[in-house]
Amino acid sequence: MADEEDDYMTMAIAEPSKPVKETSIQRTARLKREAELRSRQKTKEERAAEAEAATQAALETELDTSNKGFKLLSKLGYKPGTALGKTPGARTQPIEVSKKENRGGIGLDTEKKRKFREEMEEQVKRVKQDVVSYRDRVRMEREEKRLEGQLIGAQKVAEQLDTADDETGLGLLAPGEKGHKKLAPLKSINVLWRGLVKYRLERENEKRMREAMLQRTSDLTSDLPTYDDSDEDADDRQALGKDEKPEADFVDDLDEEDTELDEFNALDPAEKVEKLVMYLRDKHLYCFWCKHQYADAEMDGCPGLTEDDHD
């Protein structure tokens, strides 16, 4: 009896090492919490899963030496681990219990498992592929950006060099009236860097259009009667921002179809860069990679035609 009581005590004390120091309020709260936890109805699924797990665990646990039947059988001469009877190869384990819970035909479960396995393998493969392509994509994007930068750089150099030795009389930049740049027709510009100019013009154009729009809206919104001065000359007009847009001509120019430029733009960025590099070398004895304009056609000192040669 004493043993049992001892046993009972040890079970009643939760943590013998931790001194129990709680106020009555804490205690009430704890008890309430514990009671709630205990009385909480487990969901049907939770209970089913628990029961199933307990059954499986029990089915996998062999009867051990504490079992009375084990002792009796040992007395009859049974050696653990051996089989009964005289037939060689007799079973040592009970037949497995397997519950069938649906009406699936024979082989369906195996088939399902096989399909599931295949699908998983497929998915793993796809994920791997995705990883590869992502890396590729990032690298390609980076490469493209780099090439883009190089292209713009090369175009700027070409523009600079082309306009600097304008002895060809192309007159790309003519001083316009009143300091306003008068541009040559867009199509006369070298296609290699025409895109750059066009882009610049487009941006400028946009800016101006926005300004004009603002102007016009402020005009419209103004309740004040506008002052119309017949003495106003062009300069006054411009100063007042009432200038009629004289650039209308090259706005049209921008809208014009330009197959030559389109063709060039359709090229691979690397190819565009290569074309520019070659143009600069041929025309200006300039190596884009060395960032140096050589004196003669030999271009002595330049390691080669490509970026790699300049590493």
């Binding site: 037939t87 369906l108 195996t110």
Partner: protein
């Protein structure tokens, strides 16, 4: 049978029906007729005209007798026996043979096994043990015992020939058939013996019996000295009793060189039997079978019931004439399938102009007259010249081996059957739907080739057939609780249980559990020796739990009631609940309900049945009105009286507490504990419905059929059933102190692992101690 005589076919409807029958019977007739019809002297009908020609030249009255007398035991020939068989007088009864006798004899001589009679006798003479393989329909079950009878002549030494059958019904019906064949009265020269029914007499020379009965006889007479030859039929079914008998007979033949054993099997795994019986000789008789074409599905089926119904309908719509056999797993599934096939057939009959379709269920629990219906011929065409009708039989695996239905040409096999499983680790014994074995699948397919070439539709892929199915069905001994068996073996004098030579020894843990259970039931002592209780318990043809309960019941003044309960638990379910009238059935059951539990409710129903009977009610009608199963209850009455006789023989008092006494019910409940104290569950604190089994800690639910009131914390249960959920079935409320009181050894708290359970039992124990102390002080 009589209407199966050939008749000229006519063009009217009735003629068509008959013609179908005729075509079947005439084919079997032609083989049987051919031999004797040639020579008038061979014609059994005319045999008496040629009597003078016999060697003995004896008079009509004793010719056969004399001939039988002159036979030399174990040296006879087939010809000698066949000659005696065609005499006018019956050598066993000395009466004149009836006309029917010769009609049957004619048929018998057409059976495949008849052609090997001499071959059989030669082997039988030479060897003590013989393995005989013959497909169902070969005639082995009816003929071999008779062949043995004419050679073994057991009456000369006052012995008998016995032939065992796994099923009671088979033992009874085969005995009747063989009695007819020998032209004797059942119960005289030919009899049968099954549990709770013995129809034999002193005259009996050939006895059909269940294998279980032979085992029981062996317990009383370890050498089975009453028998000259033992025939174990249907050994391939590997029932528990047959397996034990085989192990036992291996030992008995050593002690009794005069005893002959014939092991008969229907399947060709005969090599295993031969090996087991020290390379015994084998005789195989071909069955009358036709080739069967086998079809597999290309893909596994999502729902085998749907697939089965679809297949049946497809066969009916597209295949030529011939009946269909569909295998399903259980009663409910069968009834459901029957209904759905009926409905779907109606719709395609209209669409495809298919013939009429008749669907019959077939399972063990079906009333006999309904079981007989499966032998009715297929329906006639709807109109003259229309497509022929067809019958579909939806059956459990009864139709696999034990029952032969003629006319089956198509078999649909979903590949499942309900099989018993036992697991010693959680002590669960349950029927579970499981895949069949390859041997079973072959057997099923074979059913299609009984009449003519047939087709078998397997509702699984060929790969699944090869990879997923096990080779042979596990024998029953591997799937059962062994408590009863161990008690029997002990009684049979088997000392070394560990090395007892079984064909398929079970897992050691199964034997451990059985020993443990018997020890706690005090049937075996701590040395594993049989106790007085064990000896007494083994007298009853019952599970030890029930026998021990019965033996203990006079202590609780209710042995009469416990006897009724034991009889109720040994018979099939008495409450009937047809799916169409569930509510009504439940209302009626409520009339008998005792909130204390199902055992008590059953007892109420039984008492009501007896009361109505004494009042002279029409019992069949009364049962029908009260949704009770008349057959089961009649069986309960008969089992009860058999058990009562054993109790009287063993001087166990039959007593009752007066019904008015307030202890009437609690005494019964206490007595139940004396047997069921190891089948106990306690309500799980967290929920009303879930219980936990004591010691094994399995979560279980009360079976929905229970009548138990909700306020019962502790219950005993009759069965732990494994389905999609785990159920305990047939439960009754008890008090926990009875448990500690009855078996303190089993309820030794050190052996209880579950903490909650241990605490509860500890509390009960403390309470009991306090009560005891108070009593002492008072």
């Amino acid at each position: 049978m009589a209407d199966r005589r050939p008749s000229p076919s006519s063009s009217d409807d009735g003629g068509r029906v008959k013609r179908q029958k005729t075509s079947k019977s005439s084919s079997s007739k032609s083989t049987s007729d051919s031999v004797p019809a040639l020579d008038p002297k061979q014609n059994p009908y005319l045999a008496h005209h040629y009597e003078d020609a016999s060697d003995e030249g004896a008079s009509d009255e004793d010719g056969a007798m004399v001939m039988l007398k002159h036979l030399k035991r174990h040296k006879t020939t087939a010809a000698q026996a066949e000659k005696i068989e065609i005499q006018a007088h019956n050598p066993w009864t000395m009466r004149k043979h009836s006309q029917r006798y010769f009609e049957i004899l004619n048929k018998r001589r057409g059976l495949p096994v008849f052609h090997q009679r001499q071959e059989f006798l030669d082997l039988y003479h030479k060897s003590q043990i013989l393995v005989f393989v013959g497909e169902t329909g070969s005639g082995k079950t009816t003929q071999i015992p008779q062949y043995v009878l004419y050679d073994d002549l057991p009456q000369r030494k006052g012995q008998m020939v016995a032939c065992t059958q796994p099923r009671r019904v088979a033992a009874m019906s085969v005995a009747q058939r063989v009695a007819d064949e020998l032209d004797v009265k059942l119960g005289e020269e030919v009899g049968y013996s099954i549990r709770f029914e013995d129809r034999t007499s002193e005259k009996t020379v050939l006895k059909y019996m269940t294998d279980g009965m032979l085992l029981r006889e062996a317990m009383a007479d370890n050498n089975l000295s009453r028998y000259s030859t033992l025939i174990l039929d249907e050994a391939h079914e590997r029932t528990m009793a047959t397996d034990i008998l085989m192990g036992l007979l291996k030992e008995v033949v050593e002690r009794r060189p005069d005893l002959k054993i014939i092991v008969m099997s229907a399947t060709l795994d005969a090599a295993k039997f031969q090996r087991y019986f020290n390379d015994a000789p084998l005789l195989a008789v071909p069955g009358r079978t036709h080739p069967v074409e086998i079809f597999y599905t290309p893909e596994p089926e999502r729902d085998y019931v749907d697939a089965a119904i679809r297949t049946v309908i497809q066969i009916h719509g597209t295949e030529p004439e011939g009946d269909i056999l569909l295998f399903m797993t259980g009663e409910e599934e069968i009834e459901d399938a029957c209904k759905r096939i009926g409905l779907e057939a109606d719709s395609i009959i209209g669409e495809l102009d298919a013939g009429p379709l008749k669907v019959y269920p077939l399972y063990g629990g079906l009333p006999p007259q309904q079981q007989q219906m499966i032998f009715e011929p297929a329906p006639p065409p709807r109109r003259p010249g229309g497509k022929p009708g067809r019958k579909v039989i939806v059956s459990t695996n009864i139709a696999e081996t034990s029952l032969t239905i003629d006319g089956i040409v198509y078999v649909v096999d979903p590949g499942f059957s309900k099989q018993k499983v036992y697991n010693p680790r959680i002590r669960v014994e349950s029927l579970l739907v499981s895949p069949i074995s390859r041997a079973s699948a072959q057997q099923r397919a074979g059913r299609a080739g009984r009449t003519r070439p047939g087709k078998c539709f397997r509702l699984y892929t060929e790969a699944a057939f090869k990879k997923e199915l096990i080779d042979q069905t596990h024998p029953e001994i591997l799937r059962s609780n062994l408590a009863t068996t161990v008690l029997q073996l002990k009684k049979l004098g088997v000392e070394d249980l560990v090395h007892f030579d079984l064909m398929d020894p079970p897992a050691p843990e199964t034997l451990m559990r059985a020993l443990e259970e018997l020890n706690y039931l005090t049937c075996l002592d701590d040395e594993g020796e049989l106790t007085d209780m064990g000896r007494l318990a083994s007298e009853f043809p019952l599970d030890p739990t029930l026998s021990v309960m019965l033996i203990c019941s006079p202590e609780f003044y209710c042995s009469s009631e416990i006897l009724s309960i034991v009889a109720l638990l040994s018979a099939p379910q008495i409450f009937s609940r047809p799916s169409s009238q569930r509510r009504k059935a439940d209302e009626m059951k409520a009339y008998f309900t005792h909130a204390g539990g199902d055992h008590l409710t059953m007892l109420n129903a039984y008492h009501a049945f007896i009361a109505a009977q004494t009042e002279g009610e029409d019992m069949y009608k009364w049962c029908y009105e009260h949704f009770l199963n008349y057959r089961s209850l009649s069986q309960v009455v008969s089992v009860r009286s058999q058990l009562q006789r054993i109790m009287e023989r063993q001087n166990i008092e039959l007593v009752s507490t007066p019904f008015e006494d307030k202890q009437y019910w609690s005494n019964i409940q206490r007595a139940l504990v004396s047997g069921f104290f190891m089948q106990v569950a306690k309500r799980d604190g967290s929920s009303n419905k879930t219980y936990k089994t004591v010691k094994d800690n399995q979560s279980v639910l009360l079976h929905p059929s229970t009548t138990l009131g909700q306020d019962s914390e502790w219950v005993i249960y009759n069965e732990f059933v494994l389905t999609s959920k785990n159920y305990i079935r047939t439960v009754t409320a008890i008090k926990p102190d009875w448990l500690l009181d009855h078996s303190p050894e089993y309820y030794d708290l050190d052996t209880i692992k579950d903490r909650d359970m241990k605490l509860s039992l500890q509390a009960v124990k403390d309470h009991m101690r306090r009560k005891e102390a108070m009593k002492r002080r008072a």
